[in-house]
């Protein structure tokens, strides 16, 4: 779900600073929970917007179990909280939402989490297969039930495209960049037509998009050895990204310059996971409503973000919590959540649902985002992420690309830096 995150990274980091020393002193402690009796209350712990408000009320009515929704606004504040709960053995909700990066990291210590498989019906055929597989820990236990998926599209500015003499209709634009080579050509055409302006914000977002289109192993192989240097997917993402430097405004994602860049028109397109739409809209402001539109991503599919629901071992009510997670992730619930707050379904039935497919987004010139993202979802390749995928991607891969993009190091040096840092960030 929305990795809404880093806009308030600032505030979060300030908080983190305060908790830094305290956290270091936290201690591990595995209390065995008491199981058995029917709970009077269950706590659902989420970040951002999962759209569970109405669903939870309905569940309360059906079962008579009181449900408390505990929300943390930003992912950056959410992760340290979870770490504290796990490190101290108390405080976590009964059902906990785990974002992709967090889930993978926590998989290294699966015994913090309940194996859901024996507690619920068999759903192994119900969801996007790769998404279902990612919910499993290395020891085979079913750690999380799929909630949403990021999916991928391109947000672009129609007015800027028009000024640069490019087509503006979303189907024409999608056709314009059916693959990455033609995306590069389009970028060059935009640069020429606009008097040297940049098409995209940064090459790092290109690398993310390409990475997830490759499928199979990314930074780790199936045995979780780091294969950054030899992985074809990583190499493809690197090469595509570095070839796009001439199109880039060289603005770091989530920085104040990036947020301001939407209004200034510093870049005319950016890669949009579905949860990014709200951020684009907010950064661009009401004045730019109707100027943005959504087109397909070059090379089809792709994914960025998405979450699972898990039950921590420290919960006192494993079975009831698992049932609740099962309810929140079923097809009907996923469509309801999508209608409420927009997280893209991962349940195969939900993805075929009429309400989902016919959804249009007004801010983005009435783009049929349900259909666009839905189609993109079906093209996502199954991938294997590995334990520290997020850290390698953000603090080794992305940083090296930015160093190269900013002209601080040559491409060769940047690659060497990435290989070195991948070992450090990827160690677990």
């Amino acid at each position: 779900m929305s990795l809404t995150t880093r806009r308030s990274r600032l505030a979060a980091s300030a908080l983190a600073a305060i908790t830094a020393l305290g956290g270091l002193a936290a201690c591990g402690n595995d209390d065995e929970p008491a199981a058995g009796e029917k709970p009077s209350k269950l706590i659902v712990e989420t970040f951002g917007e999962f759209g569970y408000e109405e669903l939870v009320k309905q569940y309360e009515k059906d079962t008579g179990i009181k449900i408390e929704l505990r929300k943390t606004a930003q992912l950056r504040e959410y992760r340290p909280k979870l770490v504290r709960y796990l490190a101290t053995g108390k405080g976590a909700g009964d059902v906990v939402a785990l974002e992709e990066g967090i889930l993978n990291e926590f998989k290294s210590n699966p015994r913090n989490w309940v194996d859901l498989a024996p507690l619920i019906d068999d759903h192994s055929e119900d969801y996007l297969p790769w998404k279902w597989e990612l919910g499993k820990a290395p020891d085979g236990r079913l750690m999380g039930l799929p909630t949403d998926v990021g999916s991928l599209a391109v947000c672009y500015r129609k007015d800027l495209f028009e000024a640069a003499g490019l087509p503006t209709e979303r189907d024409e634009v999608s056709a314009l960049w059916s693959d990455w080579d033609s995306f590069l050509e389009t970028g060059r055409a935009y640069k020429e037509g606009s008097g040297g302006k940049a098409l995209i914000d940064t090459i790092v977002t290109v690398s993310e998009a390409v990475l997830f289109q490759q499928g199979d192993d990314l930074f780790y192989d199936k045995e979780n050895n780091i294969i950054a240097e030899t992985s074809p997917a990583v190499k493809a993402a690197w090469d595509t990204a570095t070839s796009m430097v001439e199109l880039s405004a060289k603005i770091e994602t989530w920085s104040p310059e990036w947020s301001g860049g939407f209004k200034q028109g510093s870049f005319a397109a950016t890669f949009c996971p579905s949860w990014m739409l709200g951020i684009v809209a907010e950064n661009s402001g009401e004045a730019n409503k109707g100027k943005w539109d959504v087109a397909a991503v070059p090379g089809g599919g792709g994914n960025w973000g998405g979450s699972w629901l898990a039950v921590p071992e420290q919960s006192a009510y494993h079975e009831e919590a698992a049932k609740l997670a099962e309810f929140l992730t079923n097809a009907t619930s996923q469509v309801e959540a999508f209608k409420a707050k927009g997280p893209l379904p991962t349940h195969l039935e939900a993805l075929q649902d009429e309400a989902f497919l016919s959804y249009t987004n007004e801010y983005f010139s009435g783009a049929p985002t349900g259909k666009i993202f839905g189609e993109s979802v079906s093209k996502i390749e199954p991938i294997h992420l590995g334990p520290k995928h997020q850290a390698v991607k953000e603090n080794a891969f992305g940083l090296a690309l930015r160093g190269f993009e900013n002209g601080q190091v040559s491409e060769d040096e940047a690659w060497q830096q990435f290989i070195k840092d991948a070992q450090i960030q990827g160690a677990f």
Partner: protein, 322 residues
Amino acid sequence: MSHSTTAAPPTPAAPPPPGGTPKRWRLSLARLDIRYSPYLYIAPFFLIFGIFGLYPMLRTFWMSLHDWDLIGDHTFIGFDNYTRLLTDEYFWNALINTLGIFVLSTVPQLLLALFLANLLNRTLLRAKTFFRLAIFVPNVVSVAAVAIVFGMLYQREYGLVNWLLGFVGIDQIDWDGQTWSSWTAIASMVNWRWTGYNTLILLAGMQAIPRDLYEAAEIDGAGQWRQFWRITLPLLRPTFIFVVILSTIGGMQLFTEPLLFGNGNIIGGTQRDFQTLAMYMYEMGITNLNSAGYGAAVAWALFMIIGLMSLLNFVLVRRAAK
């Protein structure tokens, strides 16, 4: 425990009144009070320090002797984390960054503070209280707010600093793109925030210097400058040592400013240009869940470095003042 209000002063030499047991009892109680109650009065500090200061430190040391996963297993590995530190390029990089920013921030800051304090100490200055208050204001502003505002000033595209530099024909500087520029930018935040604070402490020190020394010097024909060098500086030495040590402790633990300057990324720039030791500790100890033991070792190394630097400062400033 109440403060001793007993009328009887503790005079052991006073002869005990005949048959006065209750009186003698009161006397010994008063003696106990005099002897031990001071410890009770200062006990709260030590209790709180023990819980929130000493215990976490010892616990961190214990962690640093382990391969410690924050949410998983702990294995005792002795001093391996510390030997790893010695050959860790990124640790030394962080140390150099910290020292660099420390020098860039502390030296100009203390010189400026000394100058300002001397100015504020002038008897002839009008609206003294106003200036003394005004100079302290930056310190009251939340560090996060400072970092956010300065981050905007130093933006590449729309930042005020680059805009102003443009008037004198200097090209846009990518402030977080190189070592020198990022250090300068971060040091400027620290300076802005702490100069006033140090000024006030130095001013307090200056006011404790007896006026008659200056008067005598004036009669002997010493000018302002000579008075400053011969009277103010030597007598300010203890205060100056205090300020330097305080700055060292703060400077070595620099965290929030560089973190927010880099948009919240713990790495501190794409090339680790401005990752400080405290940030590296956080990266290893908190961000990377599985290397918390190593992070604890970084924390202890930082502690020892601060201790050493404070000692060095103490010796150097003492000698310089001689």
